[in-house]
Amino acid sequence: MKGSAFLARYLSSPSAILGTSVIVMIVTAALFASVLYPQDPLRSVAAPEIWPFVDAAHPLGTDAIGRDIAAMMMHGARTTIAIGLIASIVASIIGILIGAVSGFYGGMVDNLLMRFTELFQIIPNLVFLIALVSVFGPRIEVVVLGIGSVSWTGMARLVRAEFMTLKNREFVLAARAAGMTDLRIIASEILPNALPPAVVLASLIVGAAVLYEASLSFLGLSDPAIASWGRLVGEGRSLIRTSWYIAAVPGLGIMLAVLSVNLVGDALTDALNPRLGREASGS
């Protein structure tokens, strides 16, 4: 597929443009967090419970203990992006490894690996994640690896299916006849062809990972030393009767982040499969 044609198809969709611009906004917020708010965002800086759009020094207001919500939002954007990306990469690596081996070799290996995948599809993801955190402690690396380790099953199934169809194609048979090792055939012949749909799925995993992180930190089960939108929603609960904006603002941030990633993922799917057309998207 030509890159320019792909880009043109991608940019022809309004949801792609909307999604991309929101992502650019969030990334910008994350990049300028330390410039605009160089100090620790988890420090009290003003009177508590200032409403948004009241005090120009604190445009999004302050929370129950006088921390600046805008500062926490911008620093939280970093957490959201970092966790979403790293967790998605971890999940993709696990999924591609298991899916590739399973689809390439088939038979007993495939059977065993798919039973293992099924295990992780059955265990409720968030419950497993909570169990991991309760065993290994609410540290950021546990959270990231944990989210990665509950998000890879879809990737494994997708890559396996791609490998199963691709492994009997002529170019693979030719590579085999030329005496290439299995590892080289997997990595340099089949994998590049299986990658486009995998990239789309990886973008959707980012959205899911952001939601997992938000849920965990909302419950107070993620790293307490790191600014996080989910945690801010959770802390806003204690003042929900009077200052509901403390919970409302970061929740909007989470929603926008997930929304934009999903829009981009859908637009990528459409751009990759122009034959499917709009009706089939989402099935």
Binding site: S134, V135, S215, M255, L256
Partner: protein, 328 residues
């Protein structure tokens, strides 16, 4: 009937090794954690000396080698024994069972809401494809698919409980004496509305998207054209011909999503102080009461497996064309 029985037996035979795998994972996590039940009891002063601690360890089988402990744990779970909660001084199974009805109620009402809302919106959007009605349906689906359920719950709470004072803020029952069973049921139903919406709307968004795609796909098939050519009214085509076939992927998804609904309930229970296994799990995590955490992990997996079986049976009944080979 014979085919159905074969399907069920086949599924059960497949499920047992899976269940053993899940229990082993739970056991590995349990043994990786620093400290055991006896350490927890020692920490809060229930056990004073080393001799009692050793006796307790022997009683719970904690003095045996790890593979033996793992085997005992697996056998125990199959006998519905998930170990002992030192904080509650109760078997873990009793604790979980006492909390299950509340969680089941929340899950059932959320799934019901999500299916009804999702199917109606998806069908309506597809029948009006590429109009503003379709567009509104898509906006609903995209927004609620992205909104975190706990935040939707909190915002519903702000609007309906705090500002409008229409619905209770949290809990499952109001304190009331001498209430008839009917007013008690009504009271629980009132408490159930907001958590159900918070949890269910996310899945309604998924089902709406899937339903829309399925309806569009089915309406292009030959038998729909045939019905139209025979002069069957459009309404009857939509309900009798299209809906019945388009709803199948939604049913598959319900089965696949049960685990996520359960996990979602864990968070939503926390938002509304709903007294189910989510609240139990959350308290257990804070207390580092790991036998309870692992009990919830295993039992929620079992519930997912049972639901998958029910969905398979439902699918079989709704679509007899699908026989065993498609499932294997």
């Amino acid at each position: 009937m014979y085919a159905l029985l074969k399907l069920i037996l086949n599924r059960l035979a497949h499920a047992i090794p899976t269940l053993v795998g899940i229990i082993v994972i739970a056991f590995i996590l349990l043994s990786l954690a620093p400290g055991d039940v006896v350490d927890i009891l020692a920490a809060d002063g229930s056990i004073q000396d080393a001799a009692t601690a050793a006796a307790m360890r022997a009683k719970f089988g904690l003095d045996q080698p790890l593979p033996m402990q793992a085997l005992n744990y697996v056998i125990g779970v199959f006998q519905f024994n998930f170990g002992y909660s030192p904080i509650h001084s109760l078997p873990v199974s009793d604790l979980i069972v006492s909390r299950l009805p509340a969680t089941f109620l929340l899950m059932a009402s959320s799934i019901l809401l999500s299916v009804i809302v999702g199917v109606v919106i998806g069908l309506y959007a597809a029948l009006n494809v590429r109009t503003w009605k379709d567009f509104l349906g898509s906006v609903f689906a995209i927004l609620f698919f992205a909104a975190p359920s706990f935040w939707v719950g909190l915002m519903l709470m702000v609007v309906f409980s705090i500002k409008l004072e229409l619905l209770p803020v949290s809990g499952m029952v109001s304190m009331r004496i001498n209430a008839t069973w009917f007013s008690q049921a009504l009271d629980i139903a009132r408490h159930l509305i907001l958590p159900t919406c918070a949890l269910g709307l996310f899945y309604a968004a998924i089902y709406a998207r899937v339903m829309r795609a399925a309806v569009l796909q089915v309406s292009k098939l030959d038998f729909v054209e045939t019905a139209r050519a025979k002069g069957v009214p459009e309404g009857a085509i939509a309900f009798r011909h299209i809906l019945r076939n388009a709803v199948l992927p939604v049913i598959t998804l319900i089965g696949l999503q049960t685990g996520n609904v359960m996990a979602g309930a864990v968070v939503i229970e926390q938002v509304f102080s709903w007294p189910g296994i989510g609240t139990l799990l959350f308290d257990a995590v804070l207390d580092r009461n790991l036998p309870v955490v692992m009990g919830v992990l295993i039992l929620s997996s079992v519930i997912v497996m049972v639901t998958n079986l029910i969905v398979d049976i439902l699918y079989f009944i709704l679509d007899p064309r699908i026989q065993l080979e498609k499932h294997s």
